[in-house]
């Protein structure tokens, strides 16, 4: 078994988790289910197909469907977010399709000018799709204004599938990253630092989660650029990102439903009324920032190793600084929003048992995979070996 099977398996499991959660915490009407199901199907199928035109087109369709899913919320803010998403995604799709057309089957383009054009198109296209700094504008809006599971679908499934498409390019056409490493590295570092700082500046939790995605995707991109163990780290990190973000958005979604308003840093003491959601948020946060024994650490140590080989101590110092900012950000969110004694007013007294159960399973998965990541990374060993050979 290899990553080609692990990835769709994980996507399918997460899509199932999102579906079960959404039965308990309503995300939308029938149209929402239809679109969400379609997106999940497209993402799973695309990742099963591997690097191909069909897969690329399926992912592009999934992205456009995600725009409609955001729009479905029906609020003016959601409509604005969907518009912003659309304006970003359409040029992004055009850029990536053109770039991939030039790259073709992976061999080097005949003329240097075409190579440069392809790289420009791919950098801009993927930066727009993934919401990397300075092309991030749609991501926080979508995360904040869409339903929580819509945001989770966009970030954990669509974005990660897009990222895996980019990581796949590292194996097919390594010259894109090796010859133009400074550009990719710069965008990765700016995303990491910018995302971490902007996450710290947020008071609304879903926006904060969106910016922390930008940080994490910057780190994963750095792994792709570094290659070798970094690429393996990026794969593992991407899986962890998907899992953690469903946990985090899920926990915030339950809280928002029960208090009847968005969860911000001014919300206090949620853990008292929602201990399960609180635990899920804490585990998701620690998993995302790579604190052992979360699964994130299995990706992080590889990414750090790749960074040490690629950029030496200065790059490690950057990564540590960003990780510290992430920690400050999540620790503040946990302690201001979830912990503490302040009374919290609930508008919905109905506990979301099924959603709580889903989050519990995902949280247990996050810890178990962290305790023994070899279960997953060992399965992908042929790919690991292949990646290491590069």
């Amino acid at each position: 078994m290899s990553i080609e099977l692990i990835l769709p398996g994980c996507f399918a499991a997460l899509a199932l988790a999102i579906g079960l959660y959404s039965i308990s915490v309503r995300q939308g009407a029938a149209a929402w289910w239809l679109l969400a199901g379609g997106i999940a199907l497209a993402v799973v199928t695309a990742s099963l197909l591997g690097h191909s035109w069909t897969s690329t087109i399926l992912l592009d369709v999934a992205e456009l469907a995600a725009v409609a899913l955001v729009r479905l919320r029906g609020t003016p803010e959601a409509a604005r977010a969907a518009r912003l998403y659309l304006y970003s995604i359409v040029p992004a799709i055009a850029c990536t399709l053109a770039g991939l057309a030039i790259v073709g089957t992976g061999g080097e383009a005949p003329w240097p000018i075409l190579q440069k054009l392809a790289v420009c198109l791919l950098v801009v296209g993927f930066a727009l799709k993934l919401g990397l700094v300075p092309f991030y504008f749609w991501l926080p809006e979508v995360a904040a204004k869409a339903a929580p599971m819509t945001a989770a679908l966009v970030i954990s499934l669509v974005d990660i599938a897009t990222f895996s498409e980019l990581a796949g390019l590292r194996e097919i056409a390594p010259w894109i990253f090796e010859r133009y490493a400074p550009v990719w590295t710069a965008i990765a570092l700016i995303s990491m630092a910018g995302g971490a700082l902007l996450a710290l500046a947020q008071s609304e939790l879903k926006r904060m989660l969106a910016f922390s995605s930008v940080t994490d995707l910057g780190l994963l991109l750095l792994g792709v650029v570094a290659g070798g163990v970094g690429l393996t780290g990026a794969w593992v990190g991407a899986l962890n990102h998907a899992l953690s973000k469903v946990l985090l958005f899920g926990a915030v979604g339950i809280a928002a439903q029960r208090i009847g308003r968005p969860v911000t840093l001014d919300t206090r003491g949620l853990a008292k009324a929602m201990p399960l959601a609180s635990a899920a948020f804490v585990i998701g946060a620690f998993g995302l920032i790579g604190v052992p024994p979360g699964f994130g650490f299995a990706g992080y140590w590889r990414l750090y190793t790749a960074a040490a080989q690629y950029g030496g101590p200065p790059l490690i110092a950057c990564l540590v600084a960003v990780a510290a900012l992430d920690l400050l950000c999540y620790a503040r969110a946990i302690h201001r929003t979830w912990y503490g004694s302040a009374p919290v007013t609930l508008v919905s007294q109905q506990p979301a048992y099924l959603a709580g159960g889903v989050l519990t399973c995902l949280a247990v998965g996050e810890v178990l995979l962290g305790l023994w990541p070899d279960v997953l990374t060992g399965l992908a060993s042929p790919v690991v070996a292949q990646a290491l050979l590069h």
Partner: protein
Amino acid sequence: MHPIFLPTALLFAGAALEIVLARILTRATKGWLAFAITLAALLSVAAVLPDVRDGEALSATLLDWDAGVPLAYHVDGLSVLFMLMGTGIGAAILLYAVRYMEHEKEGTTRFYALMLVFIGGLVMLVCSANLLMMYFAWELIGLCSYFLVSFWYRQQAAADGARKVLIITHVAGYGLLAAVILLYARTGAMLWTDPAVAAGLSTGLVLLMLVAAMGKSVMYPLHTWIPEAMNAPTPVSALLHSACYVKAGVFLIARMYSIGPWHAAAGPLLLVVGCVTMFVGIVFALKQTDLKRLLAFSTVSQLGYIVTGLALGTGLGVAAGLYYIASHALFKGTLFMCAGAVQHATGTRDLRLLGGLYSRMPVTTAIWITAAAAIVGVPLTNGFVAKWLIFDAALDAHQAVVVLIGWAISMLTAFCFLKATVSGFFGSPAPELAAQKVREVPVFMLLGMGMLAVLCVLFGIAPQLLLEPVIAPAVRSLGFAWDVQMSWLGVATGSGTVGVTAGAVVVLTAALLGAAAYRLIRIPTGKAVAVFAGGDPLPVGDTLGASDFAEMAEAAFKPVYSLDPDPLYLRIWAGIRDFARAAGRFAAGRLERHAPAVVVACTAGLCAGVWLL
């Protein structure tokens, strides 16, 4: 499975069992189960002891934790010392916790599972041959500490304390991660037993590791999390924040002697850090009126002694440091449990509201006095032997200044614990307390703390019982020769130790003469006697209380209190927060408002970058 994995397996399986059986077991039964598992782990550790006695080590690999990362153990004398400490003291504290935690309405499963994971994580940390697994265990115990401090997460103080614990120890821990990763990138080796690791060790990497060790082991200026951690249940404070968790850092410092030559590069710096920590810790302890916070700051000071011993870089210094580690775990664990017993019985740990507990809690008082005597370094206790070894080692390393500092701080320690003892256990109870029905704590709590107090005296009278079978293999495992010859009462019997032995005899004689004189000349009167109170006599009827001592200490050491690094940390945090807010305002005002223009400009910039390459 190799037997060296048995303690870890037992403890982790025990934690899982606690969770699985949570709905079936009563609160007390969960405690008994945790105690039994820790006892079984202790026995399995004891079984390993004979195999490492002469400096040998046991090595085995269980499985691949991750692709290419083996979970490999290398158990030597140093590992066994820490394993004994974790499981032994852990067992005593869990016995104490059975009754202490019985009244908690919720969270006992979480509590016992985390305690077992913590002990298992400590065992894993000290046994790991793989540096990455060592970091994994390092953070695992860190996370246990965080969750245990936030046990009462609905209380703001506990939540705030936990946050501080997390931030300081985890951020400092990145030093260890960075060092491990850079070492791996440089040498391709992850096992510290691999000679390539020693060859790749540089001063920078050593300093990174020391930063991590300083954070965990509350070295100045990274010590400020420990008083906030006192909002945890007392068994947590006793096990984590006195006996074991704070020892993880000193373990790393000791282990670095096995990894490679580091002392020449960072030893002197560490010696300074140790001495400063000793001083700052005790000065801050003097000021406290909360019993647990006082103990927390005294832990800072005591860890300073330990680090000073280890930083001397000699066999004798390392032996002294390691003996101090075990001794501190015993007496500080006892003191914390006594503080918990006081709180359990009276509902407060504020020294201003306590007093006269001797008549109501005589056994707790006796245990407290024994442990307090040990921490002060009174002869016949392990604390005396530990301090004596440190002073001896410092003299041997021609560091007379260290002896002077250590001696002065011993006096301040005595002053600090005299204050705590008198305010808490003697004199008249505060009016609030006088009305309360205060009773001695349950027998199992007494047993838990009593066992450790007995060991304090036992290892004070016969230190060779600990030195020969446990400390000597640990010292040998670090590559030092064992040249400590110590007999009953800590009397050094090796060649060239005449001066030290004579000094010990003088101290002991003086103590005995003092006691005899006190007995002989004491006038049995019920009247209050005049005491020197640092100035004018006190008005008739007034006595010195905890707050008086605290105020005197505050006045005397005022300049030292400005060394508190917390205001600096606050300024750093405020700086980061303000910078982030400014970035947020810039992004919202300039970038997001003109998104299309920004995208076009950045695209042009990127294309230019690509074209130039």
